[in-house]
């Protein structure tokens, strides 16, 4: 059981990395990866929201959706978005320091495709509560890894003499593609 959870985590983090293999959550990946410090915060916010998402999806799958399956998409979106908003308000009240650290990233990623993707994958694969949690943490760690790798490469490329045709987003997309090629090496990683 625990080894199952471990492989779900590893698989979500490396093999089926949300950004580099499934191409979900590309907007934060492209937009907030210029500096390592901000990339780390973005990653932390991602792990946080993904975990909440997984909890909410487990709850909805167990108690609500069996009665009204046609509400799946809309209930995922509404419940996750409002839950994150409530958590954000609570953090603001309880721990202003943590709120400042997470800053604008929390509301930014609430409506991200990676978030909805996680809820739908979790449902389709029939993950229970614990499995969903491992899946969410693995996906969050994978997003953080991709963000930090991208940010460290971009910080280095800032000093390079990039030709005009590749400046800006062009180079970011090419780096993303190269990272994605490298991550193909993890394909099929599983228990021997």
């Amino acid at each position: 059981m625990s080894s199952d959870l471990f492989w779900i985590l590893i698989s979500a983090m490396l093999v089926n990395n949300f950004t580099l293999h499934l191409f979900l959550g590309l907007c934060p990946f492209m937009g907030v990866s210029a500096k390592i410090a901000t990339a780390l915060r973005m990653g932390a916010a991602n792990i946080f929201v993904l975990t909440i998402t997984s909890l909410a999806a487990s709850f909805l799958n167990a108690y609500v959706l069996p009665h009204a399956p046609y509400l799946r998409l809309i209930s995922f979106i509404v419940v996750i978005a409002s839950l994150v908003q409530i958590v954000e308000m609570t953090i603001k009240k309880v721990s202003p320091t943590l709120f400042r650290e997470l800053g604008i990233y929390l509301p930014l990623i609430t409506t991200n495709c990676a978030i909805l993707g996680l809820a739908i994958f979790q449902t389709n694969r029939g993950y229970g509560f614990l499995e969903g949690l491992a899946f969410a943490i693995g996906a969050g760690l994978g997003l953080t890894l991709a963000l930090v790798l991208m940010a460290s490469i971009r910080e280095r490329a800032e000093l390079a003499d990039i030709p005009a045709l590749a400046k800006g987003m062009g180079l970011v997309l090419i780096i993303a593609g190269s990272l994605s090629l490298a991550f193909m090496g993890f394909a099929g990683l599983s228990t021997p």
């Binding site: 003499d161 990039i162 045709l165 590749a166 780096i175 190269s178 090629l181 490298a182 090496g185 021997p192």
Partner: protein, 346 residues
């Protein structure tokens, strides 16, 4: 830039640094690397016939022509594009259609190097990026390993296939030693791996020879010996551990060291001066990471060989490693002092 000052009878020359000069230059190092590859190329030709030379030529042509067309003026002379092409060629199977090898060379130089601003600025090893692209785009052509044949002059596959056509020549294929090990649990005798009497990519055979050629470069200090040494030690240790746990299922450390592209990758690709860490501490970390990932992918991954991906993944980590292992200036405040300063500021 020098002036002479007279202090009594003493003649003192005043000069700006650097005072110690090495005779090395980028072109000299690069052409030395090309030279050290000649025995490897000769061995590949000996084992795989004219196909080997054709594939190497096509990959090199792709790399060199792209560099000539889009690179800075005169950048061909430093030899780095030729190295990229040759190394890419050495990672390809002998029967691969030539146009695929050409595309790989062009992609490696174009997207692996020139978009980053040319030599010295790229993040990923261009040859391996080209190889990874080909592996993703033409998986069948890149995993067709022709069986050994006694007719030296015969082509080992449909090298002259037209672009985007199905190769028309039937070849007898065989699995590589790593594939045999992974899917059929049949180990190959390490001695035949060392001298090269096995199937595989052009540069996957004759481990001992590649070791010698790379050793020459290490002796001349053209590659950081810490990187291959740490890769070999890590692979031997981890594989030794697995072998000790279950010698029937896992390969021996000697097999792991000499099979696949490990030696070529460790000697020539991981040590690429541009895409490996600049600090020695970083080099040890880099090598350890590659060795660990190779074993991880080979043992638990879906692919029989993981050297290429291991090096590319660690390439992506190099900016991070460089930053983490940056030497501190003597007397600079430690972590505790820095935290104190930050708190005082807040």
């Amino acid at each position: 830039m020098s002036e002479t000052s007279h202090v009594g009878d003493l003649q003192l020359q005043l000069r700006a640094s650097p005072h110690l000069k090495a005779p090395d230059s980028t072109p000299k190092i690069m052409w030395n690397v090309v030279g050290s590859l000649i025995p490897v190329i000769a061995a590949a030709t000996w084992f795989f016939g004219p196909s080997a030379l054709l594939v190497l030529l096509a990959a090199t042509a792709g790399a060199v022509l792209t560099e000539r067309a889009f690179g800075q003026r005169g950048s061909l002379g430093d030899g780095s594009a030729a190295i990229t092409g040759l190394l890419l060629g050495l990672t390809l199977p002998p029967g691969v259609p030539l146009w695929i090898a050409f595309v790989g060379g062009a992609f490696g130089i174009g997207f692996g190097k020139l978009v980053f601003g040319g030599l010295g600025q790229n993040v990923f090893n261009p040859a391996l990026l080209g190889r990874a692209f080909l592996q993703a785009a033409f998986p069948a052509a890149l995993t067709t390993w022709p069986a050994a044949t006694t007719e030296w002059a015969r082509l080992r596959g449909d090298n002259f296939a037209l672009p985007f056509t199905t190769p028309s020549v039937d070849v007898v294929t065989e699995a590589t030693p790593l594939g045999l090990m992974k899917f059929e649990a049949t180990p190959t005798d390490p001695w035949s791996l060392m001298i090269g009497a096995t199937g595989g990519s052009l540069g996957e055979t004759a481990g001992l020879l590649i070791l010698l050629c790379g050793g020459y470069l290490a002796l001349r200090n053209y590659l950081n010996w810490r990187i291959p040494v740490s890769i070999f030690v890590t692979v031997a240790l981890f594989q030794g551990l697995l072998f000790a746990v279950d010698s029937a299922r896992f390969a021996s450390p000697l097999f792991a060291l000499f099979s696949g592209g490990l030696i070529l990758g460790a000697m020539y690709m991981a040590t690429d001066m541009v895409t490996s860490p600049v600090t020695n501490a970083g080099a040890w970390i880099f090598g350890f990471g590659i060795g660990f990932l190779v074993i991880l992918i080979r043992t638990w991954g879906g692919l029989p060989e993981g050297v290429m991906y291991a090096i590319l993944l660690m390439n992506a980590l190099v900016p991070f490693i460089n930053r983490a292992t940056q030497p501190k200036p003597y007397g600079s405040p430690g972590r505790a002092a820095k935290r104190g300063a930050r708190e005082a500021e807040a």
